[in-house]
């Protein structure tokens, strides 16, 4: 009988190649973790040989290093340097091309849709981030067609975390480490002595159909409980946390002197926004060739940390680093709720690891919270 949604089977290590081959057979470009430039990168993979077998990542504020792990785990790392955003919402996209034709001009639309993508190795926080971007880009009446098309066509293979990096805080952000609904397939990687296998769970009809094609055996009770223990282990390792009242703290902290303190350290380089899996801001530029016969409109990633981002008639609104950092963290953790119905932070910790000077969103929030406690305490003392 064909498996249905929720069905669980066991894939052996070698079955992963059958899964990748099956996805490719169905026309997907499979994007998964690879090794490159001293980091995990999400790039096209054609077999399990492309995956970072035995490699793990160690992340701290302003530091990310690969190290060889104790076993040959394929998904033994926590996160790639950048998320899936660059595949679902590429850094540069051509919106249209206009060519002079007689006294008028001819328009052609942006770029042809590429092949559908299968995203292999999506973490709980990353799936949550994709779902946040879904709300951003497909909000009623404001659908971004490029993103919507790529997203609709995408097949998601989530892989649950069995460990956490020092920068992870998904447990307190409420997005992980257990993978929530929204995947097509969920994998739990398990190594026990020489036995290297995956518990696979179907999360969609499409996922169930693919599992059916692989004809694998059902899991044992021991395998089920081993997989179920993984997210709890990853949660227990998390050292950072984000306050449940982040929105409240930031809303009350608009005039905090702490912003000046952060701006002494902040480079305003924009790295945090580039690696953030939910940051979505872009700018649009028009280009022409020398003759003026061809014009193109391009959209590219932008950041609220650039001076031009807030440029309006008369100059940029947010001149200081203090104003720009406040804008970013307040939007991410507070005003995002009003705009999109949730926090904009999924707790992946990339902004902490990839900040060249290690500014830590959880530490800055904590400092603001402490300052608030102290000033409340001061008020009480004065009564």
């Amino acid at each position: 009988m064909a498996p249905s949604i929720g069905a669980k089977v066991v894939l052996l290590r070698e079955d992963l190649d059958r899964l990748i081959a099956e996805l490719r057979e169905r026309g997907y470009v499979v994007i998964g973790p690879t090794l490159g430039e001293g980091a995990i990168l999400y790039e096209e993979v054609t077999s399990s040989g492309d995956l970072p077998a035995g490699w793990s990542d160690v992340a701290e504020a302003a530091a990310y290093r690969l190290q060889e792990g104790a076993d040959r785990r394929l998904f033994g790392y926590s996160l790639a340097a950048q998320g899936w955003k660059r595949h679902l919402y590429p850094p540069r996209q051509r919106l249209f091309l206009a060519e002079r034709a007689g006294r008028g001009f001819r328009l052609s639309s942006g770029e042809a849709d590429g092949a559908p993508m299968a995203l292999l190795g999506v973490r709980a926080c990353e799936l949550a981030a994709i779902q946040i971007q879904d709300r951003v880009f497909t909000k009623e009446g404001f659908t971004e067609p490029g993103y919507a098309g790529r997203r609709r066509a995408a097949f998601i293979v989530a892989v649950e975390c069995g460990r956490a990096a020092a920068t992870c805080f998904c447990a307190s952000a409420g997005t992980g480490p257990a993978v929530g609904p929204g995947y097509d397939l969920l994998l739990n990687e398990m190594i026990d002595g020489d036995a290297h296998r995956f518990l696979a769970t179907a999360g969609s009809d499409n996922g169930a159909a693919i599992l059916g094609g692989l004809s694998c055996r059902p899991p044992t009770a021991a395998e089920l409980s081993s997989a179920a223990a993984q997210p709890a282990a990853a949660a227990a390792q998390q050292q950072r946390r984000i306050s449940a009242d982040a929105a409240g703290v930031l809303t009350r902290a608009a005039e905090s002197p702490h912003w000046e303190a952060v701006s002494k350290r902040c480079l305003t380089c924009g790295n945090c926004t580039m690696v953030c899996p939910t940051c979505f801001c872009t700018t649009v530029e028009d280009i022409t060739d020398l003759s003026g016969d061809i014009a193109e409109r391009w959209r590219q990633w932008d950041s609220c940390f650039t001076i031009d981002y807030s440029y309006i008639h008369g100059g940029s609104v947010r001149q200081s680093g203090a104003a720009r950092y406040r804008q970013w963290i307040t939007h991410k953790l507070a005003s995002w709720h009003r705009q999109f119905g949730s926090s904009g932070c999924v707790g992946c910790g990339r902004c902490i690891a990839w900040c060249p000077v290690g500014i830590d969103i959880t530490a800055e929030l904590h400092a603001l919270e402490q300052a608030e406690q102290v000033s409340k305490g001061g008020d009480n003392g004065a009564d």
Partner: protein, 260 residues
């Protein structure tokens, strides 16, 4: 458009290595289109034929280092409707502005058999320190794509798309892994204007700052504090800021903070 007069272009050289002018000749395939779109009236590196001014657009390479330069840049400005500086020399004083931190007389006495023949200013300075500049193209050398973009924008009367954000954004959009975070390699990228095309980081090297400081007073002190935390000594930190853009205000200030 065919019947309208083509704008006259002039290319001027001051103290420089000629690399930025060469970027125009390096346009290769696009060079024909450039020659069609503008009348290259004065460009000694390409031709001895000299077309008379005034010029619609002057590209100025090089820094001001002699009394003669001072007089000549004034003349160039008078002859030019638009004056655009090309490269780190013209925009910040160039590598030769290292003299600004020392006593020029000492160099002249040491280098020349007859120092009395040398007429040089004590400093190497940017064109904008002497005349009004309409636009500055950064880089050592400039990026030919930026040059073509600027020419296209001027010819089509639109805003040039020359980014003012940090080199980090070029890394992230290209997908280059941060060398500072993943390798502990010191990198000027966070305080440097993008535009080179991500040359060094894409090769796993830290940014050397060829495109000069971010326009809006970059937080160089926060970056050098991080360099120190990574184990760089004060002299090495100072040297990072003493290269092609040593005399750009933000870099000069930061390097002077590391004077012993």
């Amino acid at each position: 458009m065919a019947e309208t007069r083509r704008p006259k272009l002039a290319v001027w050289k001051f103290s420089s290595c000629d690399g930025c002018q060469l970027s125009l000749l390096d346009c290769e395939l696009e060079l024909l289109a450039v020659a069609e779109a503008v009348e290259i009236a004065y460009f000694l590196e390409a031709t001895r034929t000299v077309g008379k001014g005034p010029y619609d657009l002057s590209l100025v390479e090089g820094s001001i280092t002699t009394p003669h330069d001072v007089q000549r840049i004034g003349e160039v400005r008078r002859q030019s409707k638009l004056l655009v500086t090309i490269g780190a020399c013209a925009t910040a004083g160039g590598i030769q502005a290292l003299r600004n931190f020392k006593d020029i007389k000492g160099f002249i006495d040491r280098v020349y058999a007859h120092p009395e023949y040398i007429e040089a200013l004590a400093t190497s300075t940017a064109i904008a320190d002497h005349v009004t500049v309409d636009f500055e193209l950064r880089g050592c050398p400039i990026n030919k794509n930026q040059l073509l973009e600027l020419l296209s924008a001027l010819l089509n009367r639109r805003k040039p798309n020359i980014p003012t954000y940090a080199e980090c954004i070029e890394c992230k959009t290209r997908g280059t892994v941060c060398v500072m975070v993943a390798k502990g390699e010191p990198c000027l990228g966070p305080v440097v204007q993008a535009g080179c095309g991500n040359l060094c980081p894409a090769q796993g090297r830290g940014c050397y700052g060829c495109f000069g400081p971010l326009g809006n007073l970059p937080n160089t002190a926060a970056l050098t504090a991080q360099f120190a935390a990574m184990g760089m000594d004060r002299r090495d930190i100072q040297r990072r800021f003493r290269s092609f853009n040593a005399n750009a205000q933000a870099f000069r200030k930061e390097s002077e903070a590391y004077d012993d």
